[in-house]
Amino acid sequence: MTRHRVGGNGDPGDLRIRQLRARQMLRGELEPDDLEAYLQERVGLTTLEKAQNWARANAPWPLTFGLACCAIEMISVVGSPRMDAARFGAEVFRASPRQADMIILSGRISIKMAPVIRRIYDQMLEPKWVISMGACASSAGMFNNYALVAGADKFLPVDVYVPGCPPRPEALMYGIIKLQNKIKGQPDMGWRERYKAHGTEEVA
């Protein structure tokens, strides 16, 4: 959105001109060219989709889904005043999946829990995103045994993987920011940006 500082260059005559133009616009008296110039100067224009994505990205409401140790770090992101998720719009942890946008799978996914998670994911309304937090939710973590599903992406589409055991709250916040960029349509190219490796992405 474009903004002009109120007062312009400090010229009081300038302000008066703009006030009169605003009055003309509101009364419907502006010529079409003038109207377009007016809109470009004073009103932000964007596509509806971008606005929608911006709104969705800046207020992702997570579902309360703590499974194990990563849940404690997740609650630290939300609860502790140091790493505050409220500035990203994500402090409202909704308990009902119907009201939540994003599910942060924090913790190890056992075989008994996996169908439950799938049902909850199905109950969420579109658009929904999944952050797989921690090593246990992304792969099996350190527990490569009979009792765990080796990664949430075996039964859910995952958008962002946050590694760590447990990941620091800053790492989870970085994951949320990456998700926000992804929603806004600016996927963070990450290492590909640094090493100029564009063109190596897998498009599924």
Partner: protein
């Protein structure tokens, strides 16, 4: 902990009460005393130790199992007893084979054994006679197999490296 002689006295007391074949042995290792009893004498032995022994152990702190594969008898069930008055601990152990692992349940004496015996059943397959709610507790209820037995495979996924990544089916196939 009862020291080695104290353990022998306890064993003698149990033998006197329940017969010679009730006690299968005593182990005193690193200051810890373990009394090994025959499987069908477990309930009576714990009752004796709780109520009638000269130095009673009134509280059951833990029931847990162990698989001693390949030694026979294979499955062991351990009971950890505690006496708060005398600040004393005693371990009671029983071993059963895998073909017919039946052990009397002690839930009627110590109601805290409920979940713990279910866990031993779930993980090792030891059947506790007289348990009111005998079903799996940690694994899904239709799971087959007893995971913590030594011959049960560890499970899990093989780690993907470049040499085996073409043999492992990926999730999108």
């Amino acid at each position: 902990m009862p020291d080695a002689t104290g353990l022998e006295l306890i064993a003698a007391g149990v033998r006197e009460r329940l017969g010679d074949e009730a006690v299968a042995g005593t182990i005193y290792h690193r200051g810890q005393a373990t009394l090994e009893v025959a499987p069908d004498a477990v309930h009576d032995a714990l009752a004796y130790l709780r109520d009638d022994a000269e130095e009673p152990f009134e509280f059951l702190m833990s029931v847990h199992g162990c698989d001693y594969f390949p030694e026979e008898p294979r499955l062991g069930v351990h009971y950890q007893l505690l006496s708060m008055q005398r600040l004393d601990r005693l371990g009671v152990r029983t071993r059963v084979g895998a073909e017919d692992p039946q052990v009397p349940s002690v839930v009627d004496m110590f109601s805290g054994a409920d979940f713990q015996e279910r866990e031993v059943f779930d993980m090792f397959g030891v059947v506790f006679d007289g348990h009111p709610d005998h079903r799996r507790i940690l694994m899904p209820e239709d799971y087959e197999g007893y995971p913590q037995r030594r011959d049960f495979p560890m499970g899990g996924e093989p780690v993907l490296f470049t040499f085996n990544e073409n043999e492992m089916p990926r999730w999108y196939e």
